[in-house]
């Protein structure tokens, strides 16, 4: 029983990270109907920036905030310079651009920082928090940070005029323009936010898996699974999907199929969802008249 509880709680911790990245995927999907395959590599790249800052002597939390800002600007820049020119291109062209981004970010990082694993610090203490022995302080902290990010995003989208304008631009770009919203900039802003969320996910996962240019490959796959389980157009579903996939992955890995085959859980989930319920648990079913 103890082992079971242990696995569930550890699953929630990694699940929070999947949830963050899944949310970043959903945000961009809602606004553009594209799945950003480079989301994971963007997160990885910004985590390396954080590593550089700390390597230069900056303490953790200033680094954290600075990295968020850099990630935001990077996201905005990528949208403006790379994605905008292919705005009206066919889907496959856009997919190729995303994959190119993935490969370029990955190789550039490897070129700058080499492919050797680097330890990445956790901002949370070593010794157990509040005598909790089921979860490490970093796991508790990661869940806390994830929830904090979610709440902040919810408040932003629900209660600020800019958040409302972003929702409007995603839903109905034509009408949004007619009330004076600069839809192009809202998309860029969405990319910036998604990149920022990704950076948080990267900095939370790096202390667990070590920093390396390929560290987000597996995480992105789980995040895809999470977004699909929840419904690719539903942010709440993506978050719930993230936690669900995290727990499921851990339980199956520990008690059923073993750790080596864990990643296949993500693939099984993706294929399973697409076969049984393509719109996910909470997604809307789209019907097209032909």
């Amino acid at each position: 029983m103890d082992a079971f509880l242990f696995q569930v709680l550890a699953g929630l911790a990694t699940g929070g990270i999947y949830a963050s990245l899944a949310l970043a995927l959903v945000m961009i999907y809602q606004a553009t109907h594209h799945v950003n395959f480079a989301q994971g590599e963007m997160a990885m790249f910004t985590t390396y920036i954080a590593w550089s800052l700390m390597d230069a002597g900056l303490p953790y939390w200033p680094t954290f905030l600075l990295t968020l800002m850099v990630a935001f600007l990077l996201g905005v820049a990528i949208e403006r310079l790379v994605i905008r020119p292919v705005e009206h291109a066919p889907v496959l062209a856009v997919v190729v651009v995303f994959i190119a981004l993935l490969v370029i970010l990955n190789s550039v990082t490897g070129w700058i920082y080499t492919y050797t694993l680097k330890p990445f610090p956790s901002p949370f203490p070593e010794e157990p928090l509040w005598g909790i022995r089921y979860m490490s302080p970093h796991e508790i902290g990661a869940i806390g940070i994830t929830l904090l990010v979610l709440v902040a995003l919810y408040l932003f989208f629900r209660f600020t005029p800019l958040g409302l304008a972003m929702r409007a631009a995603a839903q109905n770009p034509q009408s949004a323009r007619l009330v004076g919203i600069r839809v192009g900039w809202m998309l860029a802003l969405g990319w910036g936010l998604a990149a920022g969320i990704g950076a948080v996910a990267g900095m939370m996962v790096a202390p667990i898996v070590y920093l390396d240019p390929n560290m987000m490959g597996g995480v992105l796959l789980y995040a895809f699974a999470a977004a699909l389980v929840g419904g690719i157009d539903n942010p709440w579903g993506a978050v719930l999907g993230g936690f669900l996939v995290g727990v499921l992955e851990n339980l199956l890995g520990a008690f059923v199929i073993g750790n080596e085959l864990k990643l296949s859980v993500a693939l099984v989930i993706i294929v399973g969802v697409l076969l049984v319920r393509p719109s996910g648990l909470f997604g809307t079913v789209h019907v097209t008249r032909v």
Binding site: R167, Q171, N172, L178, V179
Partner: protein, 236 residues
Amino acid sequence: MALLEVNGLRAAYGQTRVLHGLDFALEKGSITALLGANGAGKTTTLRALCGVVKTQGEVRFAGARIDGRATEDIVRLGVAHVPDGRGTFLDLTTEENLRLGAYTRKDRAAVAADLERVYGYFPRLRERREQQAGTLSGGEQQMLAVSRALMLSPRLMLLDEPSFGLAPLVVRELFQILRRINERERVSMLLVEQNAALALELADSAYLIETGRVVLAGSAAELKRDDAVRRAYLGY
């Protein structure tokens, strides 16, 4: 002085020319109607004015050229478009839709006052303020579209078939309110309508458009008396 002046306006969808050099003007404070059959180019004219379709020709708003400018910038000058299909943000609440109408305004107190004023015109919207706009009835959505445009505190409203799909009683109510808005707040209106009788009742002056050209212009009273208009559009 003319608030809106249009000279030689041309527009096309791909290879298909829709407007072939349209000329008309709208006096400040007036309600001007564009009449014409299906496919005459009425909706395209409105879309051209607010930069949704590419155009050639000259459009002046309050003296300044606005042709070729981005929709967002034209809106900021005080041109509010009530598009056909109403342009509702279906997944947002009624009140969120209204707040979006005032997105470009910075004067918070005045926006809050305008929200109350709009609810005064359309009490039904106040009852439904927290409701998803997609669940409103057609008439309520049209009221919402007009209200959203009013929230801009516009100088000119472009109204695209506001009577479309509404029950006659609802149309009557809506047009009375449009009249009141025009009289009380001096909001100029460019009204596109297929229902010519209805439009001529509300409008001060009107233009008749056929296949992308103005074929007749005059005061509403003159057009009502015109034999050709009577036979073709008023049906008596």
